[in-house]
């Protein structure tokens, strides 16, 4: 880990804690968040030059407090509050949980939830968020400002949802994190194929959430899912996208796979009906545990997709299921299932790429070529594009299968 990564980790660990503590004390989300963000920006400027301070949290707190004083001196009513501010030695752990639920409140637009979570919980600056989401800095700044204003003006509470509200609200939080993970895992934008930073943030957030809510099975499921995908990263980009079938499995992080699978098993043992994240993680685990592509347990994967579809019917999941089906019952069966999705997925590149693969296996090369061309027209991801172009250029039969890209049902 280089100095930049270490700095990012330190800021991430402490910015959220600090923000949580300050909101509790000030009772003002926007003011507390501004103080933290100022401190984070000073840290990002000075730590690379001066070195990471011995107690990064105390350093951040001191800067936040000093900056706060400058601002608050002009605002008489805050002075009394500021006097109450003590350096939080060990802030209560649920402060960050409250923070996450506030940032992901369903009354905020999805884009605002994402930007605000990255900013307030992970401590990213506006510039970093803009870079990660490939949005303009002014757009991100505006999104954050509007969201903070809405939190105050609309009376969005800073608290952990009540027990009867928790499942629904937790789903909202997990959706936001899953979105970050997907965007990082396979970026939809043309600029790059893969953004490590967002995957890091998504994993960190899920691990934090898992630490705070250890008994929530879907949090554990999402954590296992992200870690199983991360464990394959070294083999997945060399540097172009390498499909699962062609990956060098010795490059996988097998210790991480064992750990994630164990987490999944423990969770499954405690809770009867697995949710969608656990099922997706179980599918990823099937792939991760296979010694080779040929040893993949497709019947098991097919069962898992069937379970997933009953919980969350989606055409993209149906598409992935058709791939599993083709390995169990042949490409004709896969193609038949796939064709039924033509209406809904006509503009989805993976639909056409998968169709091309089935057609090639069925010895219909002209139709396969046309389908690959359609996929190439539709995709904006550079790595996917490279693969498709390569396939179109070589035109050989039995070219690499497009892996079942589970983990990104957009």
């Amino acid at each position: 880990m280089d100095a930049g990564d270490e700095l990012a980790r330190v800021v991430r660990d402490h910015a959220g804690r600090l923000a949580g503590g300050l909101v509790s004390l000030l009772g003002d989300f926007a003011a507390a968040e501004d103080l933290v963000q100022d401190a984070v920006e000073v840290a990002l400027r000075r730590w690379p030059v001066e070195g990471i301070p011995e107690r990064p949290d105390a350093w951040l707190f001191t800067v936040a407090k000093r900056r706060g004083l400058d601002v608050l001196r002009r605002q008489e009513n805050y002075r009394a509050k500021l006097a109450l501010l003590q350096e939080p030695e060990h802030p209560p752990p649920d402060d960050r949980l409250r923070l996450i639920f506030t940032c992901c409140h369903p009354a905020l637009a999805r884009e605002a939830q994402v930007a605000l979570t990255l900013r307030v919980v992970c401590g990213l600056t506006t510039a970093q968020i803009a870079a990660a989401l490939l949005a303009s800095e002014s757009a991100v700044a505006q999104r954050i400002t509007r969201a903070k204003r809405k939190i105050t003006d609309a009376g969005i509470p800073y608290r952990i949802p009540r027990d009867d509200e928790l499942p629904e609200r937790l789903t909202e939080v997990l959706t936001v994190i899953y979105l970050l993970f997907n965007e990082g895992y396979l970026s939809s934008t043309a600029e790059r194929a893969h953004s490590r930073d967002l995957v890091d943030d998504a994993e960190w957030l899920t691990a934090l959430l898992h630490g705070l809510l250890p008994n929530e099975p879907e949090v554990a499921g999402l954590l296992a899912l992200i870690r199983l995908h991360r464990a394959r990263t070294a083999a997945r980009f060399r540097p172009g996208l390498v499909l699962l079938a062609d990956q060098d499995r010795t490059l996988w992080d097998h210790a991480a796979i064992t750990e994630a699978t164990a987490l999944l098993t423990r969770t499954a043992r405690r809770h009867r009906a697995p949710g969608p994240y656990q099922l997706q993680a179980a599918i990823a685990a099937c792939h991760s545990e296979a010694g080779s592509w040929d040893e993949t347990d497709w019947p098991q994967i097919l069962v898992l997709y069937d379970m997933l579809l009953t919980l969350q019917p989606s055409p993209v999941t149906c598409l992935h299921r058709s791939i599993a089906l083709s390995y169990v019952r042949g490409p004709a069966a896969g193609l038949a299932e796939l064709e039924a999705l033509a209406g809904e997925l006509n503009t989805y590149p993976l639909f056409h790429a998968t169709r091309a693969q089935f057609l090639r296996e069925l010895d219909r090369p002209a139709e396969a070529h046309a389908a690959d061309e359609r996929a190439a027209e539709l995709t904006t991801n550079p790595a996917q594009l490279d693969l498709l172009h390569e396939r179109l250029a070589t035109q050989q039969l039995g070219t690499p299968q497009l892996e079942t890209l589970q983990g990104e049902p957009r």
């Binding site: 409140h105 009354a107 609309a154 969005i156 509470p157 608290r159 949802p161």
Partner: protein, 116 residues
């Protein structure tokens, strides 16, 4: 901290059509559910709910420069505000919980009242 919100009850064309097609007894039951809702939440409701006449009865005044014109409904919409009430609750979550039990029209806008 307490927050005052106005709940704006919004009817859709489909809802209005379905309601018009109900038997008198079913309409009566639907009204009873609404009265019951107001009763259940009486401690948080600061004015009685007001039902509005149909949007076609609205008169909209536009003060364009020196000329004043009047016409029909401001918006020819598929969704029309059909009533409103004011509530006083702890925060948005409490308003959301309250609204989830609303037994009638399918859309509700929750808007905080600005402190003047």
């Amino acid at each position: 901290m307490r927050v005052k919100y106005v709940l704006m009850f919004v009817e859709t064309e489909e809802f209005a059509k379905d309601f018009a097609a109900l038997e008198p007894a079913e309409k009566e039951a639907a009204y009873r559910r609404v009265y019951q809702w107001f009763e259940d939440h009486a401690d948080k409701i600061t004015n009685r709910g007001s039902k509005l006449q149909g949007a076609e009865t609205a008169t909209t005044v536009r003060l364009d420069g020196s000329v004043m014109t009047t016409d029909g409904p401001f918006i020819e919409g598929k969704e029309v505000v059909s009533g409103f009430t004011e509530i006083d609750v702890e925060d948005l979550d409490e308003a959301l919980r309250m609204v989830k039990t609303w037994p009638a029209c399918p859309v509700i806008e929750i808007r905080p009242v600005a402190e003047m």
